[in-house]
């Protein structure tokens, strides 16, 4: 005999949509051109990145996806000859204007890189660093609380709570990456940029990062660049496909991965090129 299935359902269970409408726009890009010296890397990009959702940027190497990502916290400023034209509004403010306070912009827009890059310090100090430098806490107790909360949010607290003062570099690659995420979260950003955050990790560590991204989307706007199409399909609510510096298509991940509107998108996600 089988176990009783359940009591008859009075109300139908619903499938939770990955994207519940409506969504607010967090980042609005209008007519963005980007140049490395004489070379144009992005051409007239227009897109609206929704708040508290995961948006993935995909496309073959050199398509401009990382360049775009790095414009969102003005990371490209450090590259000689690089310049952006157009508008990028975050919460309605154009961050490309010269008088933008880049330090506070980067507090608001955190970033996680492909290679985990913890400082050669303790786990605790790695997470506390940004809080200290920016004087974001008033007491040691508050600092401890913020470090713990950040490590918990990055789903690594249980693994490191007994060795907080041990070296961060002694952790595995996946753990180091989550420490870097905790470090980014510590300064309480609103947006998290992730540039291939799992590219250097093994499948299990990748899975943990993806689970973490899924959890973080409840509180942060996440923009992720990935070469791994399946990863984009798994983690992203919205997907943008770039080719040769042009935004070819942008929409809900469900649609992009089941019925893309542009043949070039279809060719890319089915492995015809790239």
């Amino acid at each position: 005999m089988t176990e009783p299935r359940r009591t008859p359902l009075n109300t139908p269970p619903t499938l939770q949509p990955r994207v519940s409408e409506p969504v607010e726009t967090k980042i609005e890009v209008e007519g963005l051109d980007f140049y490395y010296g004489q070379t144009q890397a992005l051409f007239g990009i227009n897109m609206q990145i929704p708040e508290q959702r995961v948006t993935s940027l995909i496309g073959p190497s050199g398509c401009g996806k990382s360049t775009l990502l790095r414009t969102f916290n003005r990371m490209n400023d450090t590259i000689i000859g690089a310049r952006a034209e157009g508008v990028i509004e975050i919460d309605g403010e154009n961050i490309l204007v010269p008088d933008t306070d880049v330090v506070s912009l980067r507090q608001k827009v955190g970033m996680v890189f492909q290679r985990s890059n913890p400082f050669p310090k303790s786990i605790y100090e790695n997470v506390a660093y940004g809080l200290r430098v920016n004087r974001l806490t008033r007491s040691k107790v508050e600092l401890d609380e913020r470090v713990e909360a950040s490590l918990r949010d990055a789903a690594i607290w249980d693994e490191v709570k007994d060795r907080l003062h041990g070296p961060a570099l002694s952790l595995s690659g996946g753990q180091q990456q989550r420490i870097c995420i905790a470090r980014a979260l510590a300064i309480q950003p609103e947006i998290l940029l992730m540039d291939e955050p799992a590219a250097a990790l093994d499948p299990l560590a990748t899975q943990k990062i993806e689970e973490l991204i899924h959890k973080l989307r409840e509180r942060y706007t996440i923009v992720i660049v990935t070469h791994n199409l399946q990863q984009a399909a798994r983690v992203a609510d919205f997907t943008a496909f770039f080719l040769l510096g042009h935004l070819v298509e942008f929409g809900g991940t469900d649609r992009i991965f089941t019925s893309p509107g542009d043949e070039r998108t279809e060719d890319y996600i089915t492995g015809r090129f790239g």
Binding site: M1, T2, E3, P4, R5, R6, P8, L9, P12, P13, T14, L15, Q16, Q207, E210, E211, H214, Q230, A233, R234, V235, T253, D254, F257, T258
Partner: protein, 224 residues
Amino acid sequence: MPNVLETELDQLRERVLFMGDQSEEAIKLATRALIEHDHDLAERVISGDDRIDALELEIEWSCIRILARWSPEARDLRFVMTVNRLIPILERIADHACNLAHATLAIGRKPLLKPGTDLPKMSRMVREMLRTALDAFAASDAAAARTVIERDEEVDRLYDRVFHDLLDRMTHDSAVTAHAARLLLVAKHLERIGDYVTDICEQVVYLKEARVIKHQRLQNRENQ
């Protein structure tokens, strides 16, 4: 990201079970409408079919979405494939319930003739089979699914009896031919529901054991 995928698969399972409940309920109500000559109830069964059709489309889209986004493998892949095959079966079962309701309207207030007791019995049998099949699906219980497959023979035997009874009535009383033919169709709809429940159970065996047991004769011949 198995946790998220598992959650989505659990939701899919619940949705299929809900659709199964709706189809089962449609058979029950259509049979009651037939027995009690309740035309309002028959109309309700017919109008409710749209909801079941919509469920089929919704769940089908979910299957496509999960395949595209998760590339499920092994038992997860079998689960999505099974769901994708179950939903048109459940939709057809609901269509047969609808046909019972249409027959009720056509029969009007005429009595069910002699097989009046056998038709409700057939209906009860196929509903019990459907419930057990859905339970087996929910629990991935291949053994339970196999017992349901065996029960289909009882439904077939009952159908044969109804068929011969009605044929006998038609032979002996030409005045009831049209009415008996309609009842024959009612019996046929119930018998077909039994066949569809068997198909569901074959899918449950596939889900659990990764074995295809349909078209067994063909497979036996190939094995020889």
